[in-house]
Symmetry: C2
Subunit: 221 residues, 2 copies
Amino acid sequence: MDGSTLPIARLTLPEAAAERLRTLIIEGVLPPGAKLNERELCERLGVSRTPLREAFRMLAGDGLLVQLPNRGAQVVVLSRDDVRHAFELMAALEGLAGELAVQRVTDEDLAYLRGLQADMEAAHARHDLPTYYAINRTIHDRLNAIAANPILTHAFRTLNARLHALRFRSNLNVAKWNQAVAEHRDMIAALAARDGAALRDLLIRHLRAKQQTALEALEAD
Amino acid sequence: MDGSTLPIARLTLPEAAAERLRTLIIEGVLPPGAKLNERELCERLGVSRTPLREAFRMLAGDGLLVQLPNRGAQVVVLSRDDVRHAFELMAALEGLAGELAVQRVTDEDLAYLRGLQADMEAAHARHDLPTYYAINRTIHDRLNAIAANPILTHAFRTLNARLHALRFRSNLNVAKWNQAVAEHRDMIAALAARDGAALRDLLIRHLRAKQQTALEALEAD
DNA sequence: GTCTTGAATTTTGTATACAATATGCCATAA
DNA sequence: TTATGGCATATTGTATACAAAATTCAAGAC
């Protein structure tokens, strides 16, 4: 037997329910502030209350739900300040990921990232926003993978899920989009130069622009 | 009615159970790797399985427990790498807290922190380690409060709880203790000078020393 | 002696029943 | 009209019962 464990993905019912709820929240089917009636959700998900309630606890831990004693769960509503705070933290996490990635990045990693960057620029050129976002996410995930800190990656993913629930992504204007693509180019250059401080600064500035976009979208409501 | 809500703290059973378990884990009564038998714990805590299992989900979200499908929960065992990763993240979080605190710190905050620092040095002078740690924690909590980012504070607390379960704190030697006290003095000076970059560097270096201590303690087992 | 094999037992997973709390509605009084 | 009290309903909180899976351990095969 080799070292790698390959556990068969037998999702337990609470986990499956949590997963399903997570997407429902992120896709906006369950919008911010929505009250989650247990009995009703049980029917929709085809599970009983016990596993559903465990799913609630998991999602509450991720900050996607708030639970009020005797008053049930509801989808979290992010205030302007919450968004600001989340992005402040996200910037620090990305900055750390950058610093760590610089210490560990290989030439293969760089080649792969440059490929992604090219794909992203192509998507940008043909104004294909969904593909752009998909690749963009892949690049940031890849950076985290190179940083090789699972605890950081977990924190990153959790925070990302919370912000995704905001659904601010359609709000990107052309000028900001151009800038974001350019910043990505600089980021890969800094990574190639193994310049941790520069990469960190770029990532933090990059996140600040993203925060701006998110806050403007929030304002629009 | 003024803006502050003052909700009466009616802990629900799962929350109370989680709180109790958390302290049992951090105090080492439930050591790393311990299997948590549901029926047995139900009797010890005086609750039924349903709220206990919700408590498990909460603690698993905090990273204090791992749950294996059909095989129950056990107290997390931190590997050497886990500790390294946790401290890397912790350093980034503290660094961010420092940068934010610099932007918001008031003279009253500084006066309060200087008072704590004096108390801490007194505890250090009389070799009172428990008091030293209590004050040390208060200072770091205070810094987080000044940073005024609840999401950061939450991440900080969660990560701290995980590391506390390691119980490495009795492992501090005299040289390191002296250095830590001196670093704290420098930190307050940087905060007073509103020098965010300096404070960040100090906090990160401070954490690196702490990480060193933790790893040595881990080695000793 | 070691390795299977397969009940018996234990433990976890899920559903449901009952209890406690909150919510909504309507009657009544100021 | 507006506020208050109290009942009916709905919803959440907790315990327990049953189902499914894992673990244990002894008997037999090699």
